[in-house]
Amino acid sequence: MRKGILSAMVALGLVATSATAMAGFTANQPVLVNPFLRVAQGALGSARNSPDNIQFIGCAVTDGAGGAFVTCSARGPGGNFATCTSSDPGKVAAASSINSDSFVVFRYDAQGNCTLLSVSTFSQYPTKAH
């Protein structure tokens, strides 16, 4: 009887271990907005899965009479807000590559121009749970 319980516990432990190993490396990246350094960053999945109802990050590409432009915006869990715009084709292309598993960093100047837009998509960034 005791042997049976022991075996069951070992089996359960193996299953749990293998399940953890299959998940791979994960890195939660909540939204950070630093208005002094004029930088915002975060993973879309982390923002969406966060328990608060505040944080978000993302970029929109809009085409119009004046050509395409990108608007990036973010709000951190503390309420800090940042936004920037750019008509630079490189940044428009970078923004177009964002998907729901992306990690986004943008920097901006005092006039609100995006001076950097970095988009990375790695397996460690969480996907949107809902």
């Binding site: 978000f56 009479a65 609100g112």
Partner: protein, 171 residues
Amino acid sequence: MRAGSKILLALVLLGTSVLILRGVQLRDRQTPKERPVAARPAPPAPAPSCPPAPAAVVTEATDTQALQAAIRQIVREELQASRQAEARQAGLPTQAAPPPVPSAESQEALQKTQGLVHDAISTRYWGAEQAAAMSELLPKLTREQRSEVFKELVPALNSGDIEVAASGLPF
């Protein structure tokens, strides 16, 4: 050949042609007595009432002027190309076509967006309604008009002078 070498060559040619032209002009000013004998053509007896037309000299001067004009054109083109290449390397905008004249629709959209921005500055509030209105108007603006609007609105949103109550993108 690099642009600098072309300009140098063109300048040398220009200088040479200027010297030739000046030489020709100097020779024209000289009286027949001052002219070197070797430079004279075969000496037919000159009639005082009808001096020989300096056809060769005129042709030479005309050719020199044409050459000078051509060289000036080359220098101008090379300088312009060189400046544009430098501007491109420095990431500066090159001499571009003038911005398109805004249409009546974009002018109207600009007035509306400016109204939204001025209201937001006075009320210090940017909500979902303003965000929606702006996102509808922005595609109608020319690039210059858009920059004008952003220059006023975006720094105020980032500094907190205008409170952003809209969730998500502000426009």
